[in-house]
């Protein structure tokens, strides 16, 4: 029989143990502990932008950008984390990790964008789900699935996708509903 620590040995000088985490369904602050800074200041951030609402019956809303990244913090100053609100607009709101408040990096998960007549799109974004498209009663393409369902695209009249997004999912919606609000989860060891 093997032990977990055979494959993931505890690092010298710290690390290992049970990960700590803090979730944000509303905006707030994350304050790094001195123990976290002493352990190297490394945090893992899961950040989801807000989804957008569909445009007419033929275009589903775009999912918010889903970002998974590491940041390295150097001070115990409080970090502002803003969470995108839901919206009935074709432009989703953004969620922001202000890691630079504590020596890290400012990173934004952009809101989803709904395509308009020329086909749905998510330009220059990582892992955001595009909304579905349909032409009359003909499906023109299903929506993107996002990451673990976060940031999935919204449905159109005949194109499969998310109709009514779950709160804090960053999912796009169909045109008579609101794009999902954003989300953040910070994970770290100390």
């Amino acid at each position: 029989m093997s032990n977990f620590s055979d494959f993931f040995p505890v690092a010298e000088g710290g690390g290992g143990g049970i990960p700590k985490y803090q979730e944000f369904t509303s905006s707030g602050t994350f304050t790094p502990s001195q123990a976290l800074i002493d352990a190297g200041g490394r945090v893992f951030v899961f950040l989801v932008g807000g989804g957008s609402s569909g445009s007419g019956e033929d275009y589903g809303g775009g999912g918010g950008e889903v970002l998974l990244f590491y940041d390295t913090l150097t001070t115990t100053s409080a970090i502002t984390v803003t969470i995108a609100a839901s919206t009935t607009s074709s432009t989703g709101n953004s969620s922001v990790w202000n890691g630079d408040d504590a020596g890290g990096t400012l990173i934004t998960a952009a809101g989803g964008v709904t395509g308009n007549y020329g086909g749905n799109f998510q330009s220059n974004k990582l892992t955001a789900g595009f909304g579905a498209r349909s032409s009359g009663s003909t499906p023109g393409g299903g929506a993107g699935s996002g990451v673990f369902g976060y940031g999935a695209g919204g449905s159109s009249w005949a194109g499969p996708g998310v109709m009514d997004p779950k709160a804090n999912s960053g999912q796009g919606s169909w045109h008579q509903s609101s794009g999902g609000s954003g989300f953040a989860r910070i994970t770290w060891f100390e």
């Binding site: 369904t25 509303s26 905006s27 707030g28 602050t29 033929d58 502002t80 803003t82 969470i83 995108a84 609100a85 839901s86 919206t87 009935t88 607009s89 432009t91 709101n93 953004s94 969620s95 922001v96 809101g111 308009n116 007549y117 020329g118 032409s135 009359g136 009663s137 709160a167 609000s181 954003g182």
Partner: protein, 117 residues
């Protein structure tokens, strides 16, 4: 219902976030509670009320052409189906779509389809 806070920068809504009123006061940017107000990214704010962005004539024309192209695409399948209900009216509608950009109705008044598809 979530508590919606608009973040205002240079008189424009830069973002709308989920946030408590207490946390909004903590933020350094100008913030307004818009939970009960129609307010989205890009709206202008004069210190009292929010106004949706006004589109330029160029933006309206681009959107109108995209809509026209999409309508033609949606109705392509009707052309060879001579027994399609109101076939002649649909063919006339498609011609109106093609001519629309050269008329005074463009881009504000769209040609009317014979029926919903």
């Amino acid at each position: 219902m979530e508590n919606r806070i608009a973040i205002i920068k240079n008189g424009l809504v830069d973002n709308v976030i989920v946030c408590s009123d207490e946390f909004a006061e903590y933020l350094q940017d100008q913030t307004v509670n818009v939970t009960e107000i129609d307010c989205e990214i890009g709206y202008s704010y004069d210190g009292t009320s929010f106004t949706a962005p006004i589109k330029s004539i160029e933006e309206l024309e681009i959107e109108a052409r995209m809509w026209r192209d999409f309508e033609l695409e949606k109705t392509d399948f009707i052309v060879p189906l001579t027994d399609f209900p109101n076939h002649a009216a649909w063919i006339t509608y498609r011609q109106q779509l093609r001519d629309w950009t050269t008329t005074e109705d463009f881009p504000n008044t769209k040609p009317t389809a014979p029926a919903e598809l």
